[in-house]
Amino acid sequence: MAEISAEIPTSRRSDGLPASVLAIAWRNLWRNPRRTWLMAGSIAFAIWMLAFSFALQKGAFDVMTDNGARLWIGHAQVQHPDFEDEPLLENLIADVPRLRRSMEALDGVVTAAPRAEAAALVSAGERSFGALVVGVEAVAEAQWSGLAGAVAIGRYLDGAGQAFVGAAMARNLGISVGDELVMLGTAKEGGVAAAVAEVAGVFSTGSAALDRSLALIPIADFRAAWNLAPDEAHRLVVVVDNVGEALDTAQAAAGAAAPWRVLDWQALMPEVKQFIDLKLAGLYFLFAIIAIIITFSVVNAFLMTLFERTAEFGMLKAIGMRPGSILGQLQCEALLLWALGVVLGVTVTLGLVLWLEAVGMPMPIDPNEVMPGLNMPDRIYPSMGWGVASVACLTLLAGTQLALLVPAVRLRRLNCVEALRTQE
């Protein structure tokens, strides 16, 4: 047997496939342009579906996050390690001015403002309610806080002895601008904390929780009444200029803020984070189904191709091409088909996204009616999500290559005598 096989020069077949295989694949693709366009179109559609919906969502998520953060919470906060879970008066951060300087020195940070807060009984005349009294640095907060801008009556804090309260609270207490507000709570080291302030303004944010429960006073007044040192606070609220980089900035802040804890917006607004995750999970599920449908379509297209080109494959086998090489040829065709779909899909998506990035896309339903608390913008400015686009492309690459497995089995079983007869 050794002599026999020695007579057939197999060693030279090392490459298995001719170098021009890509060129041949490309030409084969255009033997049936209609089918090629349909299949490339379906691949492009899937990529567009995922990448464009994601771009829209991402734009909405970003603004939603930013608005949420800029309303009151900030993009990140420095806190005592226990404060988030146990918002007790004693869980303070100290040496705030130095901490604030180091935060503001970070790249991308616009400002960092300290807050001190405590639950207290607020009353006006005969009425009293539980509220969260927050000492703020009015000048710093006025620069960015949406709350400071949401003045319904009167004005924001601009001096000592003033209070800025939510509309629902004002209504509940029956007070308005100029009225006196009494705050009673428990000071540090157990004494009674008491403060009296004149209502400077009433805010209305649309968020029931804020409007009902917040009363702002100057942080100096708070420290005096609750017995805090001048360099103590509960939160140092960090605001950045680009929400897209807020998480990175928070990470950088974590290093600079030791031993205190830095919470990024995902930790501060878990409902926003989870809302985003839930939306994305739905989107990925939709895409997965679409990828399956499209893989089926591509399998189908390859089966048709194989069927139509049976005689050709029979001839290739007859003149000595191995099934593996023929499959390689088909793989190249699938690859080119995919690439065509990708170029098409990415181009269309990118074009749409760039256009909408410039003009913005109006929402079909005004979302602020739907979810006032979440502060959706009424126009979205999408931004291209390359990560998601790559996921889409790679999934479909796997799908199209997988789609070849079915024809591959047939190819291996292809009897060339039979195959050659098919065209007669």
């Binding site: 077949r13 170098a19 050709e312 003149i319 000595g320 091409m321 060339c416 005598v417």
Partner: protein, 235 residues
């Protein structure tokens, strides 16, 4: 395998070759114990009525199909014993095929079709092009090298197919009804061409045909009937 005679002068040696198709419980005996030797440099026509087993015999010799009984040796290699991939290599390197319906790759030009088989063999690009051009030119279609099959007439396509078959210098050229789709003028040209290849280059040719003109051009004439050789005569 000792009974396979590996004579220097024998390209094909069939001994007791049988092939039975099992179609719908009724066995069809396409070949019944065919003994057939084919000398190097010979030009044999295989004729006989439709269904007599011509294509079957050609397919067996070409390694496209396997015999149920008997042995076939091509250039001293026992075809029965080869694996699928060894058969592939045998076809690629030792046998040239010419089919009735040409079977060119539609997306490749004439020259590329000829080069394609050398690419499979791993021939270097420069040499490939040179040989392809030469081969096409020797068949008188050098100026059509860049046309695709769809842009060629039947006779021209068949010449390209022959160029593809001989460019690898096969020891054996197998042609199953190469002239079936051609008019008589074109057939005559084709036959002169085959004869020249046979005379000048010593390529062994085995062709199945119904066409008396083809039989006339061959050096030896074998007639099959019901799967057995009934006549074998020199021209």
């Amino acid at each position: 395998m000792s009974d396979v005679s590996v004579g220097n002068g024998v390209v094909v040696d069939c001994a007791g070759v049988s092939r039975t198709y099992q179609e719908d419980a009724v066995p069809v005996h396409a070949l019944r114990g065919v003994d057939f030797q084919f000398a190097r440099g010979d030009f044999v026509s295989l004729s006989g009525p439709s269904g007599s087993g011509k294509s079957t015999l050609l397919n067996l010799i070409g390694g496209l199909d396997r015999a149920d009984a008997g042995t076939i040796a091509v250039d001293g290699v026992a075809v029965n014993a080869l694996s699928e991939s060894e058969l592939s290599d045998l076809r690629l390197h030792k046998i040239g095929f010419v089919f009735q319906s040409y079977n060119l790759i539609p997306v490749l030009s004439a020259q590329e079709n000829v080069e394609f088989i050398m690419q499979l063999q791993g021939v270097a690009p420069g040499e490939r092009a040179e040989r392809a051009v030469e081969s096409l030119a020797s068949l008188g279609i050098g100026e059509l090298a860049h046309r695709r099959p769809g842009e060629l007439s039947g006779g021209q396509q068949q010449r390209v197919a022959i160029a593809r078959a001989i460019v690898t210098h096969p020891v054996l050229l197998l042609a199953d009804e190469p002239s079936a789709n051609l008019d008589s003028g074109t057939t005559e040209e084709l036959l002169k061409l085959l004869r020249r290849l046979n005379d000048d280059r010593g390529i062994s040719i085995l062709t199945a045909t119904h066409d008396p003109m083809v039989m006339g051009y061959a050096k030896r004439r074998v007639v099959l009937r019901d799967g057995a050789i009934v006549e074998d005569s020199a021209n």
